[in-house]
């Protein structure tokens, strides 16, 4: 078996602040195989978004951040790469989709030049005309009805759903090995979010792209992911297949999260404890879900 697209082992992260050091990640491990969709689920502040930023190599450039452990991307240890080499991976081998598509697009430029900028990451010499043709093709692939018109629009002239489609097209434009989706479309209407997520799923399936899907929304995760890691306060507490997790949640925190989803069938919003000793119980790994042996 080839190396997983992404393998994180014992990743720790701390920040130096004026109030002293703050530990954000306490040694988390996870992996994503080629073409696999893996979700990292937790409440805000649990450390999911910083994990994404470490994978992208963005936090490494922050002076106040202290990072330990290993992150391997396609078998290469990111720590052993230079800043320049890590930079070269961004936008080419890995890319990202954000919460709010509309504010993720620059408001003072049309879509076309922003797309050109993205395509230049893989092919620095690409001409404006060639970039435009390719962008139009990519936009029609994400079911944007008039790609030419969208290319000449500003983000505020397009609907949130359209912008999200543009973001998906941009994210997959350079055929990345890994797509990181950080709460994709949370800022959108629920129905639009569902549509664009379905689209995203089809697209990554077609391109065999691995996905790290970060979310607090278990309902969305169930639809989208093959495997799930649940994270609580910088620790992975449960690791299971999506089916396994929803059929048989074993960690107290996971059970609390699942019961927090309001049900239409009655009972209203259940009472759950904010903090419980139980949530700090050790990691539960479901059968057949272990971490691969390190080869680095």
């Amino acid at each position: 078996m080839s190396a997983p697209t992404l393998r994180i082992a014992d990743l720790g992260l701390g920040f130096r602040t004026w109030a002293g050091p703050v530990e954000v990640l306490h040694g988390i491990s996870l992996h994503i195989n080629k073409g696999e969709r893996v979700a990292l689920v937790g409440e805000s502040g649990s450390g999911k978004s910083v994990t994404a930023r470490i994978v992208l190599g963005l936090l490494q450039e922050l002076r106040s951040a202290r990072i330990s452990g290993t992150v391997e991307f396609e078998g290469r240890d990111l720590d052993r790469l230079s800043a320049r080499e890590r930079h070269a991976l961004r936008g080419t081998r890995m890319s990202m989709i954000f919460q709010d598509p509309t504010s993720s697009l620059n408001p003072v430029y049309r879509i076309a030049p922003q797309f050109h900028e993205v395509l230049k990451r893989a092919d620095p010499a690409i001409s404006e005309a060639a970039a435009r043709d390719r962008a139009a093709a990519l936009l029609s692939a994400v079911a944007i009805p008039e790609p030419e018109r969208a290319l000449d629009s500003y983000s505020f002239q397009l609907s949130g759903g359209m912008n999200q489609r543009v973001m998906i097209a941009m994210a997959l434009a350079n055929e990345p090995a890994l797509l990181i989706a950080d709460e994709p479309g949370t800022a959108l209407d629920v129905t639009v979010q569902a549509q664009t997520l379905a689209l995203m799923r089809d697209m990554v399936e077609e391109h065999h792209t691995s996905v790290l899907f970060i979310s607090h929304n278990l309902g969305v995760v169930r639809e989208f992911a093959d495997r799930v890691y649940v994270i609580y306060k910088g620790r992975i507490v449960e690791h299971a297949t999506a089916e396994g997790l929803f059929a048989d949640p074993r960690h107290p925190y996971t059970r609390a999260l699942l019961s927090a989803v309001p049900r239409i069938t009655g009972g209203g919003i259940p009472e759950i404890e904010d903090v419980s000793e139980d949530y700090y119980q050790p990691l539960v790994v479901h059968e057949g879900c272990g971490e691969p042996e390190g080869v680095a």
């Binding site: 961004r90 993720s104 003072v108 990451r121 941009m170």
Partner: protein, 341 residues
């Protein structure tokens, strides 16, 4: 009607209303002051008949609204009256002195933009570094002294101790340049006299820099804080996560959205320069509107004061309209939406 044209029409309309307000305000201030302006203008030796004749000519015996009516009637013919100080039409006086002041302000404005904006960008990009702190101290000092203090200090250092620049004036007397635009740096080029151009440019450096220092400070501080705010926006994070080069992010992605609020302040700084030019001109003996303005104010030369203030305000409003159009040009949201806020 395209939004930009609508914006322009709206701005012109508002400016016209404001300009009428300015004329009423300054006209009222000029007429309700204690003392007889005619007597003050003519001096203590004038006869009662002379004073009465002048009062007649200036319609000083009429009611204030009627005086204002006369004023508006003359204004509509492009006539601002006769200056009691120079005995020439106020418009002729202003036409003679204004170009030198405008040239100074334009050069200072260019300095403000070409120095202030890059300083702000550098400070924001290297936030928290020594460069950021240096820019902060420099810009704070810039806004912390009136331009005449900077003028005196710059003159002392760069004209007296290190005689790099001329002490005063606009151009050496030996050059005779035909006035076309009134801007010596342009007229010398039109005349094809490069030596004269160099001399005029050499003369304008110190006064313009003294005048621009506070504007540089304002522009840099505001650009920095806007850039810092923009750097926290999702589209910058997106640019980073796609690995766009950091230089390109600063210059292209962060700078342009940050420029929009800076431009408004740059417009206001231009206005402040219209006033501060008086101070700098006094230090460098710059033959602009300053000496004329102060002289007519001290002599209570009503027509000249009203005319000068009106022209300066009109220029201020014009600069603001230009700034609004620039913002509309940079900010597509205004160009394409009905609301121009």
């Amino acid at each position: 009607m395209p939004p930009v044209v609508r914006l322009l029409a709206k701005r012109l309309g508002t400016s016209l209303i404001v300009l009428v307000g300015v004329s009423m305000l300054i006209f009222t201030i000029a007429r309700v002051i204690p003392g007889d302006p005619a007597r003050i203008a003519l001096g203590p030796n004038a006869t009662a008949e002379q004073v009465e004749a002048l009062r007649e000519r200036l319609h000083l015996d009429e009611a204030l609204p009627i005086q204002y009516g006369y004023f508006l009637r003359d204004l509509s013919r492009g006539d601002l009256g006769i200056s009691l100080y120079t005995n020439r039409p106020v418009t002729a006086d202003i036409a003679q002195f204004l170009p030198a002041t405008l040239e100074l302000i334009v050069v200072a404005g260019l300095m403000m933009i070409l120095i202030g904006l890059p300083l702000g960008v550098i400070a924001a990009r290297y936030r928290g570094s020594w460069a950021d702190h240096a820019v902060r101290i420099f810009t704070l000092l810039g806004v912390s002294a009136p331009s005449f203090v900077w003028a005196v200090i710059l003159m002392l250092i760069f004209a007296f101790y290190l005689p790099l620049f001329p002490i005063a004036g606009r151009i050496a007397d030996s050059y005779a340049i035909a006035s076309v635009t009134g801007f010596l740096t342009i007229d010398t080029l039109i005349a094809g006299n490069l030596a004269a151009f160099g001399n005029a440019a050499w003369h304008i450096v110190l006064p313009a820099f003294a005048l621009s220092l506070s504007g540089i400070g304002q522009a840099a501080r505001l650009t920095r804080s806007n850039m810092v705010e923009t750097y926290d926006k999702p589209f910058i994070e997106m640019a980073r996560s796609y690995g766009f080069p950091e230089r390109r992010i600063a210059r292209r992605f962060a700078f342009r959205p940050s420029l929009i609020p800076s431009l408004t302040i740059i417009g206001l700084d231009f206005a402040a320069m219209l006033g501060n030019a008086f101070l700098v001109e006094a230090v460098f003996a710059w033959p602009g509107l300053s000496r004329y303005g102060v002289a007519v104010i001290l002599r209570k030369d009503l027509n000249a004061i009203v005319g000068t203030v009106l022209i300066i305000s009109a220029m201020f409003l014009l600069v603001n309209i230009i700034v609004d159009l620039l913002i509309a040009f940079i900010n597509p949201r205004i160009r394409y939406s009905q609301r121009a806020s």
